[in-house]
Amino acid sequence: MDALRLAAELEHGLMCQYLFAAYTIRRYPYECFDYTWNRRRKTWEKTRVLSEAELERVRRWAMKVTLIARQEMEHLGLALNLLSSIGGTPSFSRPNMPQKDDYYGAANIKLTLTTCNLDTIKRFQIFEKPEEIDDVDDPKQIDDWCKRARIAGGPAPELEEAPPMVTGGAPHIDQYGVPFADVQQLYTEIEQGFVYLTRSLGERELFIGSQGNQVYGGPPSPLYGSMNDLNQYGLSLIPVTNLQSARQAIRMIIEQGEGAKAPPSYRPNAHFCLFSDIRMEMEADKGKLAEAGARRVVANPLTRWQPDLTAPRREFTLIENPDTLRVAELFNQCYEVMLLLLLYLYSDQVKTEEQTNSLMDAAFFPFMTMFVRPLAEILTELPANDPYDLSKMAGPGFELAGDVVLFPNIEQTWTLFQERIDALVAGFRAVTARGKLAPPKGEPHLVRWAPRHDPWRELPSQSEEYVVKQREELWARVKAETATFHEEEGRGKVSEEILPSLPWLRLYYLRQNMERLGVNWKDNWMNVGRTA
């Protein structure tokens, strides 16, 4: 169980790192330019850094890194299914980032959030390195593994019957007492553990957990065949009920990650090979496109110092811009609620199939896709500190204030969700206070939430008339919606003269979505028109 908890923690940590990197990749046409504030002239000056074709190339990197991150979510889910299957307590706990280099001993897994550049991709490549590769800097080895499949293939070897080393004395010991030099080895140990314990205890005694306390898609899922079947989004989540499914889950993790034991035809899609492809593309111009293609996001942007951090102070940035800080706090809160929803699915609290499906929907659609991700993206377009310094933008810190735990009673749990959502509604109202939209006094060049002028208008691929019309319509709708201000917005009146920036409009959209969720969440969530 310790090994599985460690595996879940690792997968969770990798997923956050991959997501952070993916969110830092530019993709809006206006991001073909960098903007710098000329203090003497008091104007924003722009420099082209990407062509539209290059922007398309870096978007394809983002697509790959995002897909890998989703599959890390799958691996996290599979690790928790494995844990749940043997009666363990699933957990989303993990250390905050950054941590010291040897946090996981010699496993070479650094916990840190960095932009998607060549160094970052090299780090990711090492995370996913198969044991069969000695040197990730050797293109021939990588080509053999990923493209020509000379090294591996064939059936997996039989496992040794010796018990796994699940307690102390290992060369790469960590706080769990689970020895591992890399992720692949950890899962090999786990697989050996399952085989050994099945043989010594028997399947019935080992797999005592309920399938109802697992998250999965595909044929066993009631959502199979529907648009909300998780397995159609690049995932392959299965339930674990016996040794065969346990081994299948473990094998899927290392097939998708390292490509080990995978059919040679699958290898090019393994995480290691996808990262190797990106690295090769980045190295083709010595990392120049990678540098230009990433938003200028600081490493490890945090809302506050977290007591479990072990990395030196220079490795993280405290967000000081007050507006950005509030958005970052909202992100952390949404992230925590999403984890709570997921944890509930793994809990043994009484829940009907309908409730399970509803909560699964809630966790993935909308919390993960409509709040966590947009907030993360918005943060990478907001200044970490000085609003005139666009070379230091913020980002999602994925901060956890402690363990993510549920109340033991189901009614308390519903209340807990409602309270959290109410707090989020208040938070969104505060950050989108319409009366505060005007630029700060004496700084007319600062458009709140995106301190740049509107570069959309100058790009040939963007119809000026159309883009401006869209935003004017959105703004008109916002202004027309209500004449009253919520308490959280403070006093003021809607500014007539300013056209809000895209990040602000996105925040307002999130606010509306959260307000909708917040209206008697429990009842409304179960009663939303036709669902099947």
Partner: protein
């Protein structure tokens, strides 16, 4: 009472983000629909006519044109879909009404909404706004009427819609591998093999186009499209099937996915009425949407609008 019955059909465009991208995504990353290099942002609106702002029609092979003002046509030169929903048959009291033939139908600014589960779930899309316009071949508006989500409060924000209000604007059912859609879009059948072959043929057509394309921006966009068209099976799904026998991917599957049973009595105040329609009655609008082509960002719509006459 006599009614005018308008039968309409054709390809529409909907440049919207797809799951798991958020619904306000403007360019596309984790779904399979994108605003590609050189194209305007995704606007998430349903466009029935090619000259509506926000339309961008792509090339599907050598010899095709692209852009935002291509004429109404059922297919491009290379066989791809072209936007244009028109009246294909009209009758009054059972008698032919040829003056309405080829009239242009529009759902002005309509969006197919779900907000990833916030508004409705499981992709039982809610259509809003529903503002139907019929114009003659020259573009002169003949009749136009808007439907209200809540007739008692037409300005009510969508966020306050109750479940019955949502139900009224949702389809009744969703059907995979629909022969109805296959027939409408010219596919020989609705089987998965046919759908996969269709995507492979599109990919090959784009590869030929790429070989003749010099412009770097256009080439970059084509590379992304070709990469997406390679995904016809769930290659990542290691739990079901075997290599080259995985479940069909949504990029191909949705070519014959049917959303059917929209049946809405349009009942707001008509804004244009040159045909002597009875404005005191609701005007029943029945239609289906389907045949979603994620590469073209088009779908097919077919339906009827029954307008009681005074």
């Amino acid at each position: 009472m006599t009614s005018l019955l308008l039968e309409f059909e054709g390809y529409f465009q909907m440049r919207m983000a797809t799951d798991p991208d958020p619904t306000d995504e403007l360019r596309g990353v984790s779904g399979y629909t994108f605003a590609l290099a050189g194209e305007p942002d995704l606007d998430a609106k349903v466009h029935f006519q090619p000259d509506e702002p926000g339309v961008w029609q792509r090339k599907f092979g050598v010899g095709d044109d692209e852009g935002d003002k291509l004429p109404v046509a059922r297919q491009s030169k290379s066989g791809g879909p072209r936007v244009g929903v028109v009246v294909t048959n009209a009758s009054i009291g059972g008698n032919a009404a040829p003056e309405y033939q080829d009239a242009r139908v529009q759902f002005l600014d309509a969006q197919i909404l779900e907000h990833n589960g916030v508004l409705v779930r499981n992709d039982y899309f809610f259509i809003d706004p529903l503002h139907v316009r019929v114009s003659d071949r020259d573009g002169n508006v003949m009749v136009e009427r808007k439907d209200w989500v809540n007739p008692a409060a037409p300005d009510m924000p969508l966020w306050e819609a109750t479940s019955p209000m949502l139900l009224r604007r949702q389809p009744n059912f969703v059907q995979s591998n629909s022969p109805l859609v296959a027939a409408a879009t010219g596919l020989p059948d609705a089987g998965n093999e046919t759908l996969i072959r269709n995507r492979e043929a599109r990919r090959k057509s784009l590869e030929a186009l790429l070989a003749k394309t010099k412009d770097e921006t256009a080439r970059a966009a084509l590379v992304t499209r070709i990469e997406q068209l390679r995904i016809v099976e769930q290659w990542w799904n290691l739990a079901v099937g075997t290599f080259r026998n995985r479940p069909i991917d949504r990029r191909a599957h949705q070519l014959t996915l049917l959303f059917d049973g929209w049946n809405i009595g349009v009942m707001g105040n008509p804004t244009v009425n040159t045909i002597g329609a009875d404005e005191t009655q609701p005007w029943p609008l029945k239609f289906w949407m389907g045949g979603w082509d994620g590469d073209a960002l088009t779908g097919y719509v077919k339906g009827t609008w029954e307008i009681p006459l005074k």
